[in-house]
Symmetry: C2
Subunit: 324 residues, 2 copies
């Protein structure tokens, strides 16, 4: 089952009401191996499509234009939760109608909830003549993440809104740093198993060995330096996670084989995307990334696990306005 | 007692034998707040002066040209230990005479042992027509650190040899990354108390909270990004250590006051140099750094503790050949 994420959704564009704005909100890869909880990046595909417009009556109406049966109660929908947080800081009684066409499968580990939350607030902010800063928008959207996983994390939200690779230096107070990166090809495989973010978080030890933490921060320092210096070899050497991956990867069948075969095929490195089950690999060129995709496919064919693969690149724009 | 480190040593240059080489081996600041065990930088002053030449008979002769009464047995002297490690990889039975004039006070926390070890092997390598790489030299010099502190660490050795700010991404295998940095003024105060590296290491907890480790690697990623992006504000925000400093700073009287007064005087930030007792602060300009120096002086005057202060800049050369 090798193919695009939900490619059957390629049909008519959202909304024909003549008003409002449409955005594409990209998938994102959080954690980035050694950068647990602090690094993430946006990819070009897949992305969610969302349309927002003002309505006459105060409040939020959510219309799902896909088959995921996500909640339409704004307080139970991640996009709704993000919009509600934004509306708390607006003095006027506004009304929004939000149409969502998800193309990023919920629970796949590539920031599906972040795309909904981030897309909604970026789109609404366009309607509001950009009265809020990007950092404000991250703050609002984190309420969607809290609803989805119980934790206000920003390592999917920030790259979704800022684009590129982002560092969350600090979450309280929020400090987001955009990191330039050389061209990178991203291959993602999504084995169709369920890994709940809350389970993936619960499995982690709350204490770690200082020596392991030192190794981890040596790697994250190396990764940041590699990205900013366009040093592919250093990026590759730094893509090592001695703390989280050894614990979480046991939840993902085939993980070790995907990783070793991808690296043998020339990938710089990679690991669990977010809290999984998707696995991502970075490559310097498209041919290598294509080879990595074949290896991923072969592993899950052999295991008899339904899966999707994706070959894309880093998205430097973040949530994109399609029409106004 | 505000003044230069051992400024009374400013007299005739080492060696007048007409042969051999003389080097200046600079002091270094290891750990760099959040970069425990992985980041360090070299400073322009103080530095040790060393002279090496070949002798007729195999082995190492060490002559101390200062008043520290350091061991002259090569196996008990950090420079000797480094040279012995180098000689193990040379097939010929060579003889060296090494004269050392230390200007970096042993035990002050600014890489005195690293300067001896690094200076010795860099100087010897010049005599040997640079047959060894810089990475080899770091490897040899780490034997001096092992003798001094019981641990083969490279966060003083690497910046001493490479100059500038260095990242030790990994110690086994050794992976050293040079990090460009914007101009930075460095103010150091050395309160005249003894903090043994082994004690400073022993006091650390071997386990840390994952949430604290995450905060630490957010900061180190921010610091590396700040250095490479010439972003002084980001450097300042990232100079935070939630793991090591709270434990070790209790060994240094006046630490909290030095830090708060230095930051109030405009320093970007700073912390314990190496394992102490020296404290360093980074500033964007010389006037601020001079103000920081006055604050440091005032704190230790009030406490009645003998101390030395130093105002210098980052040294981008590392061990420097003076004459050949």
């Amino acid at each position: 089952m090798n193919g695009h994420f939900l490619s059957f959704f390629y049909y008519s564009p959202l909304s024909t009401d003549g008003g409002g704005v449409t955005v594409h909100a990209p998938a994102t890869v959080a954690n980035m191996v050694c950068g647990f909880d602090v690094l993430g990046f946006a990819v070009k595909e897949p992305y969610d499509e969302m349309h927002i417009c003002f309505t006459g009556k105060p409040g939020i109406t959510i219309i799902n234009k896909d088959d995921y049966n996500l909640p339409t109660d704004p307080e139970k929908n991640v996009a709704g939760a993000a919009l509600l947080a934004m509306m708390e800081e607006i003095d006027e009684p506004l009304g929004f109608e939000l149409q969502i066409r998800k193309r990023i499968k919920p629970g796949s580990g590539v920031g599906s909830s972040a795309a909904s939350a981030a897309g909604a607030v970026v789109a609404a902010n366009h309607l509001l003549q950009n009265r809020f800063s990007r950092e404000d928008l991250v703050r609002f959207a984190m309420n969607g993440e809290k609803l989805a996983s119980g934790v206000k994390h920003a390592d999917n939200i920030a790259p979704c809104i800022y684009g590129g690779v982002t560092l969350i230096r600090s979450i309280f107070p929020l400090d987001i740093v955009s990191l330039a990166a050389p061209p990178l090809y991203v291959t993602i495989v999504h084995p169709q198993i369920e890994v709940r973010t809350s389970d993936a978080r619960g499995i982690l030890k709350r204490q770690v060995q200082l020596k392991d933490a030192i190794r981890q921060w040596g790697n994250i320092a190396g990764l940041v330096a590699g990205l900013l210096k366009n040093d592919y070899d250093l990026i590759g050497r730094s893509l090592e996670d001695v703390l989280i991956e050894p614990v979480r990867s046991i939840l993902i069948p085939g993980f070790d084989e995907v990783k070793s075969r991808s690296k043998a095929a020339g990938a710089l490195g990679g690991g669990i995307s977010g809290s999984g089950p998707s696995i991502f690999m970075l490559s310097k060129d498209e041919t290598t990334a294509e080879g990595v995709k074949q290896e991923m496919h072969a592993v899950y064919e052999r295991l008899g696990l339904e899966h999707h693969t994706y070959l894309t690149t880093i998205n430097n724009e973040g949530v994109k306005l399609i029409k106004n």
